[in-house]
């Protein structure tokens, strides 16, 4: 009884306070990731020649998410410490387990251009298992409100460290680290247990 009243008053507080009680991201479990970011596309990691021959085509979110089971994780930057040493490997090492659960794609996205993402994916030897996408202008992360200003670290506008499980565009699980330098809730092992 008391808890129901608490929930109602919290909900009222949220609607009244608006910004102050906003969820960490603008999306949450149950949100439709494609509707949250209309007109947004990502650039698949590629070489320049591939870009040229595809006329620098981009991939709309609907193509990535509609009718598919997708595991997606975002990180502050290609070639940076935790991202390279821990975050990507935690998905690469679990790829068979994700596929066994019927996951269609495991996607890594970062605010980098698609050529850097490609160089990085090749360096990590992860291209066969994980699809790497660049969100070079941060439009994808801005739509989800998952951007983080990392100018003090000389990286400029980047993204939080996060992970999600998305089914037919609907977010089923969403994990966001409290600070991007941490690696507690956004890894592959953790997400595997939540699907």
């Amino acid at each position: 009884m008391a808890s129901a009243m608490m929930r109602r008053s919290t909900a009222t507080l949220r609607s009244v306070m608006g910004v102050a009680f906003r969820d960490y991201a603008s999306v949450s479990v149950g949100s439709d990731i494609v509707s949250a970011a209309p007109d947004v596309s990502l650039q698949k990691a590629r070489t320049w020649d591939e870009g040229l021959s595809s006329k620098f085509s981009t991939t709309p979110l609907s193509e990535i998410f509609k009718g598919r089971k997708v595991v997606i994780f975002g990180l502050p930057g290609a070639f940076t410490g935790v991202c390279s040493a821990q975050h990507v490997p935690s998905y690469k090492n679990n790829i068979d387990k994700f596929k066994a659960k019927g996951i269609d794609s495991v996607i890594c996205v970062s605010v980098n251009d698609p050529y850097v993402m490609n160089g990085w994916a090749e360096r990590l030897q992860a291209k066969d298992d994980i699809e790497f996408y660049g969100d070079f202008d941060a439009s994808f992360h801005k739509s989800l409100d998952l951007t983080k200003d990392l100018s003090p670290a000389l990286l400029g506008p980047r993204s939080e460290r996060w992970s999600a499980y998305v089914e037919d565009g609907k977010i089923k699980v969403l994990n966001v680290e409290s600070v991007p330098s941490e690696f507690k809730v956004s890894g592959g092992d953790h997400l595997l247990g939540q699907i």
């Binding site: 930057g77 290609a78 251009d113 850097v116 360096r123 000389l154 400029g156």
Partner: protein
Amino acid sequence: MAPICVGDSLPDGTLAYFDSADTLQQVSIHSLAAGKKVVLFGVPGAFTPTCSLKHVPGFIERAAELKSKGVDEIICISVNDPFVMKEWAKTYPENKEVKFLADGSASYTRALGLELDLTEKGLGIRSRRFALLVEDLKVKVSNVESGGEFTVSGADEILKAL
């Protein structure tokens, strides 16, 4: 900013890099170039082909020659963050002389008037392809490509001027 040209003073600015101890450092261009003969060349993007396969190797190969003609520093800048620049530099293990410096926010590139909008190629604001020969902060040679080509901005053109 109008593109930098011969006779101009090289503006100051701060660029970033990882030193040999893997510590992030920031350096002012003037501290590297004042009272010295410096070659500064810029590329649109790390890990892109012309930059990687033609422009940079030319300067690495000619580095000893450039140094023998009195060049004190050979600097490559790009609008990329220092993590990316560090890893890109590692793809040239034979390199001894060329310094790879990051202009992550493009602020120095803008100060040189050499920015280029490559948004439709998925790159955002980057630098034109260029090469400068600067003596005690005075620009002696300014070779700037007009588009994506690689015709005047290589090491050979700078060598001709020395």
